[in-house]
Each structure stands twice: as C-alpha cells, then as structure tokens.
C-alpha cells in the first residue's frame, strides 16, 4: 500500500514539475534559448508572493493577480532587453547572459531577504497539510492534487491557446521558421516577447506552488532549473504533454528513490535523467546503423 501511495505521490509531483518545466520548454521551442535564470525567476515570484502574504496579509492565490502580470512584464523585458540582443551573437551567448542574470537575481534576493528559509504554507490555512483519505491507511495531500489539477489546466489552456488563437498560430509559426514568418506579416520580435511573457507567467505560477509545497531560499533556483530541465529532456522537447510525461517520470523516480535511500530522492531523479539521455543517444546511433545497413549494405 505504501508503494501505491508513493506511486500516486510521484505522479502528482510530476504535475508540479510539468508546470515548472513548461515555461523553460516553451521558451526553448520558440526562441531556441535555454533560460538558465528560469529557476531563480521562479524564486523571485515566490518571494514576491511571500512578501504580499506576509506584509500585506493577502491570500497568496489572490496575490497572483498582481504577481502574474508582473512576471509577464518581466518576461517581456527579459526578451527585449537581454535575450534578443544576446541571440544576435549566436546560440552560445544567451547561455552566458542568462547565467549571469541568474547569479545577479539570486544574490540580489539574498541581499533583500537574507538566508532565512521561507514558505507560503502558513498563509493558506491548512491546505498544505490536509489530505484525502484513500482508505487502507493511505492519504494523498490536497495541495498535491490541486497542483496537479492546475498543471493540467495550465497545459491544456496553453495547448488550446496555441492551437486556436491567432497569436498562438503566430507563436507556432515563429517557432518553426522565424525568417519566413516575417514574410507573411508577423512581427517576430513582438511574438518572441509575448512568448517570453507567457513563459514567465507560467514560471510565476510554478513559483506559487513551489512555495506552497516546500521551503525556499534565495539560492533554491538552481535545483528548480535542474528539475525543469530534466523533466523537459525526459519528456522530449516538442509537445506540452511530453513535458507532463517527463515531469511524471521524474516525480515517480524521485519519490520511489526516496523510499529506498535518504539521498535517493535526488540521485534517482538524476539517474533516470541520465539513463534517458544515454538511451536516446544509443537508440539514435543504432537506428542510424540499421538504416545505413539496409540502404547502403554496409
């Protein structure tokens, strides 16, 4: 029974990872940039929400009304101010730019908020501790279920947006062919900025749920970036639902790993990630060899 509970926990954790990862994958899909500041920006949102909850005593969910648009604005500035310019120097420079940004962000956060570990859990009543009774002595957290539900809604909403709205079409087209898209009248700079805004709004949402489900400090961003990246790679870049699958696999690996060994949580997750990476390379080479054998008789 404990195993089954662990399974459910892992899947629900996957929902959080999907929410966390979709912004990173989205930005990569549209602009071919991996934003190394992704994790620390989620922490920015977490701290913003915490400040509003702690100092002004607003419910964190209500605080989203302020924080999410601000994150969107940050995304716009990030794209127009930094990413657009650095991308002109090739695909390597944006990595350095976003890395520099990440260092700046987390250390500025440290200057503002200090080293104390914080959490949003105390500000949402008992949501962080309540659980559903599954019977047979096993429980699953209400927060975990809520997180998963929100993740599904977010991914679904994004998918609908991309499929049926004009801006969504423009984003998809820009992701596929940024040169040709201009030839049909689309302002690709505007589209990229909108994509970055959307990505950071999802980051803001992820920041909320991170702060609710666990503690955070100014330097927590690095680990979140790694998780987002791992979920994205496991699921395969390309589709939003792939990111969900990746998140779930990562969540499962981590949860099951934690049951085996105290360090198992992190190690199991990384191990699965590396396995998938190696598997993907090995399979590609194998398939290539098979193809060459069949076609050229090598």
């Amino acid at each position: 029974m404990a195993f089954l509970t662990a399974l459910v926990e892992g899947v629900l954790l996957g929902g959080y990872y999907a929410m966390l990862a979709c912004g990173l994958s989205f930005m990569f899909g549209v602009m071919r940039i991996i934003n190394l500041a992704h994790g620390s920006l989620a922490i920015v949102a977490a701290f913003a929400l915490w400040t509003i909850a702690d100092r002004y005593e607003y419910d964190p969910f209500l605080a989203l009304i302020v924080v999410l648009p601000v994150m969107g604005g940050l995304g716009w500035l990030l794209q127009r101010g930094i990413l657009e310019r650095s991308a002109r120097s090739g695909e390597l420079i944006p990595i350095l730019s976003t890395f520099g940004l990440a260092i700046v962000v987390e250390n500025v956060l440290f200057e503002c908020f200090g080293a104390d570990i914080r959490s949003l859990a105390p500000y949402v009543g008992s949501l962080a501790y309540d659980s559903f009774d599954l019977g047979g002595g096993s429980y699953i957290g209400e927060l975990a279920v809520l997180t998963f539900a929100v993740a599904i809604l977010l991914l679904g909403g994004l998918q609908l947006f991309l499929t049926y709205t004009p801006l969504g079409r423009q984003i998809r087209a820009t992701a596929e062919d940024p040169d040709t898209v201009e030839l049909v009248g689309v302002n690709s700079r505007f589209v990229n900025a909108m994509a970055a805004s959307i990505a950071l709004v999802t980051v803001g949402l992820a920041g909320l749920f991170l702060a609710l489900r666990s503690n955070f400090d100014p330097y927590a961003g690095s680990l979140q970036l790694i998780f987002a990246f791992e979920a994205g790679v496991i699921g395969g870049t390309g589709s939003l639902w792939g990111t969900l699958a990746g998140g779930i696999i990562l969540g499962l690996a981590q949860t099951l790993g934690a049951h085996i060994h105290p360090q198992g949580f992190l190690l199991a997750g990384h191990a699965v990630f590396l396995l998938v990476l190696v598997g993907r390379l090995y399979i590609s080479r194998h398939a290539l060899r098979g193809f060459l054998k069949a076609r050229l008789g090598w």
Binding site: L183, V184, G185
Partner: protein, 239 residues
C-alpha cells in the same frame, strides 16, 4: 508613379556582393520576369525587396514611399508579398492555418481562405492536412495562396516551378495567369525561359548581380537572352 522603384541597389552576403547597382521600375499591373543562371542574384534581389536582406546601398520605393529601412513585416503591411524559393511553408501547421496566419499583416482586401480554395481547387480536400504531407504542387498552391491572403499590391514569385512535375507546373501557371488577368502586379523569377516569356510583359536578365539585358518579352530575341544569360554581351537596353 511606378508601383515599385529600385535605385542603385547593392546587397551583400557577408563578403560576397550578390546584387550590384541594380535599378529598375515596375508599373502597376505589369508582370516582370527575372531570369538568369543560378547564383546570379535573383533570389537575393527578391528577398531584398521583401525585406529579408538589408541592402548595403541604394533605395527601394513602393508607390513613392521609401521602404529601404523598413522591417519585413511592415513591408507586408504595405503590400509586398513574397512566395519564397522552396515554398517555406510551416510544415507542422495545416493548409488552413498557413493561410490564416497571413492575416497577421492586417491588410484589408478580397482574399479569404474560401477564395484561395476557389482559386486553387486542388487544395479543397487538403484544407486540414498538415503541409508536410502535401505534394509539391499542393505546397506551391498553398504558398501562393498564403501570399495572396496578405492582399498584396506587389506579388513576388521565386521559382514557383521548382521541383514540380510538369502537370503541377501547368496548374500553378494557370492560376498565375488568372491573377495577371485580374490586374495583379507580379515580379517572378523563373528558370524555364518559355514560361517566363509567355506570362511576362517585360524580361530582365541578371548575371553576377547585375541586370545585363532588359526589354519587352515580345521584342527580345532568344539569342539576345541566351547571350546575356551566359554573359556573352555587356548590358544592352532593347526597346
């Protein structure tokens, strides 16, 4: 005033000068064929007009307005539409989506998805098919349709017969002729000399970035054209 006016245009690809001091005019309703060997600079010239390449020197005017420094998407809003070499459709998107996205330019006009379907009836059953699955002819039709959806005043066609079966080329050119007879202004790049001479009012031949022969399709002899094509003559203006 000419619809399109190019003055002393100089376009470079890195260190290579692809278009050298090109000047010409296109009047409303004209069809101009741009011919020349591979690498002569025809595609670069078209892309320069559309905005994908910024010129080193020179001027481009659309109906009197200087658009030399204008970004590509704004030129589309002003009425220039390029059907790029190789079609460059959004393969993961459907035919309809490819057409709809061209509405981003915001230009008002008669072209709708339904009208494109009427103009290219072969697309009707493929309306919701992903463009990656289309045949060459269907792709070309979609690409032209996509350009038309921007309600252009000037249509630039880059090698629409490339990679198509003769049957498909016939179909495409039937539609092009229909567009011409409805009064469209077209500049087209075409490898097939016969086709080019059949549809165009005027012909310009490019060699190594320069226009070496220019004249009316009816009056230029094949000899003059092939000489210019292969570089046996300096630039001559024939009336």
């Amino acid at each position: 005033m000419s619809l399109l006016s190019i003055t002393a245009l100089d376009i470079r690809h890195g260190l290579l000068q692809a278009v050298r001091e090109v000047s010409f005019q296109v009047e409303q309703g004209e069809t101009v064929a741009l011919i020349g060997a591979n690498g002569a600079g025809k595609t670069t010239l078209l892309r320069g007009i559309a905005g994908s390449h910024r010129p080193w020197r020179g001027q481009i005017r659309l109906d009197g307005t200087d658009i030399t420094k204008m970004p590509t998407y704004q030129r589309v809003a002003m009425g220039i539409a390029l059907v790029p070499e190789g079609r460059r459709l959004f393969a993961a998107m459907t035919v309809e989506e490819n057409l709809l996205i061209a509405r981003a330019s915001g230009r008002k006009g008669d072209w709708t998805v339904d009208r494109v379907m009427e103009t290219f009836p072969m697309l009707k059953p493929r309306r919701h098919a992903r463009c990656g699955t289309l045949s060459g002819g269907e792709q070309q039709a979609t690409a032209i349709g996509r350009a038309l959806m921007t309600n252009p005043r000037l249509l630039l066609l880059d090698e629409v017969s490339l990679g198509l079966s003769p049957l498909a080329v016939n179909l495409v050119y039937k539609s092009v002729e229909a567009l011409i007879s409805s009064g469209a202004t077209i500049v087209l790049v075409e490898q097939d000399l016969n086709r080019a001479l059949k549809v165009a009012n005027r012909v310009m031949c490019m060699l190594e970035g320069k226009i070496v022969v220019e004249g009316n399709a009816g009056t230029l002899t094949r000899e003059q054209i092939t000489d210019a094509y292969f570089g046996h003559q300096k630039r001559a203006r024939v009336e």
